[in-house]
């Protein structure tokens, strides 16, 4: 093999930007000092209301036929510590990608004898915020492996595909134009580390998939369902890009 071919072979095996070790700055760092301070102060962060409600749900059995999360998992500070940093993941042997909300609902149905919570319901947002909060300040730890590679590739392709009547890809904004102003917003790296977030525009807490739907609407593209495969794949891709970024749930956003 001549040096040129060797070079090509080397380049081909280099990790893509998404899997490099560079740690991207959290979306929070693009906010005003005031909002950053509010997000960091548990007493002033409005998202903490949902976290408190999540704690209540964690400790409550819904009916005589079901048991509380706590009855199996005990103290969440211990049992749920670091859990959120590993999601989304593929449950071994399942070939199904689950995010934290999906994991919680699996427990509801399979272990708790209860119905799955609806997507974007206060209950599911509260419990996922409460569980994710147990990983506060811990770095996200999702990387590509044999089990998730296919989902990751689909997410990566979606991220770079132009979509909608306005014909823009996620990367057009969130890679190529980070730091520039899009009307009133400054474009960030689109990291999932602060979700669910309290968004002033929503006047409430919302999931990552809700944010993805907002970005789709912005370019007049087809919106996918909450929890859909398309959004789970994107969530995986975004989380791998965010590997090493600290969890900040619940973040505050404009």
């Amino acid at each position: 093999m001549n040096w040129r071919a060797l070079c090509f072979a080397l380049i081909a095996t280099l990790p893509s930007a998404a899997t490099s070790t560079e740690i991207l700055p959290s979306g929070t760092t693009f906010l005003s000092q005031g909002l950053q301070a509010q997000a960091a102060d548990a007493g002033a962060n409005p998202g903490m209301l949902w976290v408190a409600d999540g704690e209540r749900l964690w400790n409550t059995a819904e009916s005589a036929a079901s048991s509380s999360c706590a009855s199996c998992h005990g103290d969440a500070e211990v049992s749920m510590r670091g859990v959120a940093t590993r999601y989304p993941l593929v449950i071994p042997g399942s070939n199904q990608l689950l995010n934290l909300e999906g994991r919680i609902n699996t427990c509801r149905v399979q272990r708790q004898n209860a119905l799955a919570y609806a997507h974007e319901s206060d209950e599911l947002l509260s419990l996922s915020a409460f569980v994710a909060r147990q990983s506060l300040h811990m770095p996200l730890k999702v990387t590509v492996n044999d089990a998730n590679a296919e989902f990751f590739a689909a997410g990566e392709a979606a991220f770079h595909q132009r979509r909608g009547q306005l014909n823009l890809s996620c990367a057009n904004c969130h890679v190529e134009r980070v730091g520039l102003r899009l009307r009133g917003d400054v474009i960030t790296h689109a990291l999932p580390n602060a979700f669910p977030i309290y968004r002033l525009e929503w006047q409430g807490l919302g999931s990552l998939h809700r944010r993805l739907r907002a970005c789709a609407l912005g370019v007049r593209a087809e919106m996918f369902d909450y929890g859909s495969e398309a959004y789970l794949n994107l969530e995986l891709y975004l989380t791998v890009r965010a590997n090493g970024v600290a969890v900040e749930t619940p973040g505050i956003r404009k």
Binding site: R163, G164, Q165, R181, R183
Partner: protein, 142 residues
């Protein structure tokens, strides 16, 4: 730029008005329609219609509500001819293949368009002419 033989065909297939590209411009108004600069200004500002300020700045508008992904539009009426502005609105990608400016009068080669917008252009021919008329009035002196 090469003359485009297929664009008329594309345009009529999709029910759009045909247009001729000359150089980097579309000299003739779409369908011979007359633009109204007042309406054009509203379209440019309206978030549900042109929404151009997500990317562009206009003179005399609060900085915080303007975008900076594209060049400021102040003085564009002096920099560009009416026909040049028209082609940039119809389909900027004919001038710069990797532009992020949306094609406002094109329906093909788009993907995952929201169902309510499929087969529709982002702006209608009359709106294109209104915006062209408005932008042509923008000079660089305030």
């Amino acid at each position: 730029m090469a003359a485009c033989f297929s664009c008329d065909a594309h345009a009529s297939e999709a029910g759009l008005l045909a247009y001729d590209i000359v150089g980097d411009a579309v000299p003739a108004a779409l369908g011979g329609l007359l633009g109204d600069p007042e309406r054009g200004r509203e379209i440019v500002l309206d978030r549900r219609s042109g929404n151009c300020l997500i990317c562009h700045a206009l003179p005399a508008i609060d900085q915080h509500f303007q975008g900076e992904l594209g060049p400021a539009l102040a003085g564009v009426g002096e920099r560009l001819s009416t026909g040049q502005i028209r082609l940039r609105l119809i389909d900027q990608s004919r001038i710069n293949a990797t532009t992020i400016m949306p094609p406002y009068y094109r329906v093909d080669a788009l993907s995952h368009v929201a169902p309510e917008y499929i087969g529709q252009t982002a702006l209608q021919a009359q709106q294109i002419e209104d915006v062209v008329a408005y932008l042509s009035t923008l000079s660089s002196s305030p």
